[in-house]
């Protein structure tokens, strides 16, 4: 506008219609291009990023919660195992104690039994021996007496020889 140069100023609040046209077309073009080709991708990217961040946070939280739960579980299990182990140890100790006393009692009983049996057999043997000896001594005494009587008047040497023989016989019988 060269109106100003001619002294007739354009009123600033009155728009130039040519500028209205250009402004409308240019802004419409800008809107068309950006709203069609750029902004939808921008919103999509914005959403994707929000998802990525929030999803990541959620995943991390879930993982954390799971880890905490596992830790708790392991702790509980560990405590359980510890009490179990303690219980087993106590049981084992008690068992060992009772087994020891049992074995001791049994051993004592066994030894008593063995001793008693030994004593008994000893007594029986002794009795048998005494009985046998008694019979044998009697027989021997009778035999000896008979021999002595049978050779009553023989000489001293012979008598001595008889005795000697008898004794030898005895010894040889004992050795046999």
């Amino acid at each position: 506008m060269i109106l100003a140069a001619e002294g007739v100023e354009h009123h600033p609040l009155v728009p130039l219609w040519q500028e209205l046209v250009i402004g409308t077309i240019a802004f419409a073009l800008l809107c068309f291009v950006l709203l069609k080709f750029v902004m939808p991708r921008m919103e999509a990217m914005y959403q994707a990023r929000v998802d990525a961040i929030e999803g990541g946070l959620k995943r991390a939280e879930a993982a954390q919660a799971e880890a905490n739960q596992l830790l708790e579980q392991y702790r509980a299990q560990l405590a359980e195992v510890r009490t179990e182990a303690a219980r087993i140890r106590d049981d084992a100790r008690a068992d060992a104690e009772s087994i020891r006393t049992d074995i001791l009692a049994k051993a004592r009983e066994e030894s008593d039994r063995v001793i008693a049996a030994g004593r008994e057999s000893l007594a029986v043997e002794r009795q048998t021996i005494v009985r046998e000896l008694r019979a044998e001594v009697g027989g021997l005494a009778v035999e000896l007496a008979g021999r002595i009587v049978g050779e009553s008047l023989a000489d001293e040497a012979r008598r001595k020889g008889t005795v000697e023989r008898f004794l030898t016989d005895l010894e040889s019988a004992g050795a046999r």
């Binding site: 402004g23 709203l35 919103e43």
Partner: protein, 259 residues
């Protein structure tokens, strides 16, 4: 004094409305302003196409910038003003925000140095789109009668008050909203450019003085111009944010079930 200086140095002092209506480049459709609009559209398309040609879940630098803008608009404007229904509109708001912010920033970019939004035609286009969108959304949500009732009739008011309140509410919702939306953006950019002109050209005017003391004061004028240029960056981004936030707010209130 100023008239003499303009005559002497050819400086356009004082700056005025005429500084906003530059000579045409080639006909009324091809001016510095329309070319800047095409430049903004081209830059934004190239930027977003380049940074989002191949988006990754872990973004690169450009993609990160593009997504930061989108995230800001999506979460701090659309969701804040419209709730979960706003996410659907976040792409449009993002385009709107980038377009306004970039065209506003043209006001301090060397070589361009004026925002296209200091011509009210461009803010009017954007405000009209918002206007049509929130009325369309309100009518689609509630029906014509429902939407009028929802936006004009305040609940819990004694009935005679409606004679006063209905015209006010009508003016508020259907006239003031689009007009203020367009004028706010336009006026901020217009005033910003005017301030920069005042301090920059004013500096040169002071420098052209015959008095050495007046020449020395031009330094303050230039410093002020630089400070105001930085201030303009803030204004540019803030106005883009405000425009988009209000658009979202209007659309949100059209969708709301209560006034």
């Amino acid at each position: 004094m100023s008239a003499q200086l303009v005559a002497a140095e050819g400086l356009p002092w004082p700056p005025g409305v005429k500084d906003f209506y530059l000579p045409e480049v080639a006909g009324p459709f091809v001016t510095k302003f329309t070319l800047m609009i095409w430049l903004a559209v081209g830059l934004l398309i190239i930027f977003f196409m380049a940074t989002y040609r191949n988006p990754k879940l872990v973004p690169g630098k450009g993609q990160w910038v593009a997504e930061s803008i989108y995230g800001l608009v999506r979460d701090n404007i659309a969701r804040e003003q419209m709730g979960s229904a706003g996410v659907k509109f976040a792409p449009y708001f993002t385009v709107l925000f980038c377009y306004i912010a970039l065209t506003n920033l043209f006001g301090i970019i060397p070589g361009l140095q004026i925002s296209p939004n200091s011509h009210i035609a461009f803010p009017i286009v954007l405000a009209a789109i918002t206007y049509v969108m929130y009325i369309y959304l309100g009518v689609r949500q509630h029906g014509v009668g429902g939407y009028l009732k929802q936006s004009l009739i305040l609940p819990g008011i004694p009935w005679p008050m409606h004679f006063l309140l209905i015209p006010i509410e009508f003016l508020q919702t259907f006239i003031n909203r689009p007009v203020t939306l367009a004028v706010r953006l336009f006026a901020n950019m217009f005033a910003g450019h005017l301030i920069l002109l005042v301090f920059t050209i004013g500096g040169f005017v002071l420098l052209a003085s015959d008095n050495v003391f007046i020449q020395a004061t031009s330094i303050f004028s230039f410093i002020m111009a630089i400070v105001m240029a930085f201030f303009e960056v803030l204004i540019a981004l803030l106005q883009a944010y405000v425009f988009v936030t209000l658009s979202a707010n209007y659309m949100g209130s059209a969708l709301a079930s209560e006034h």
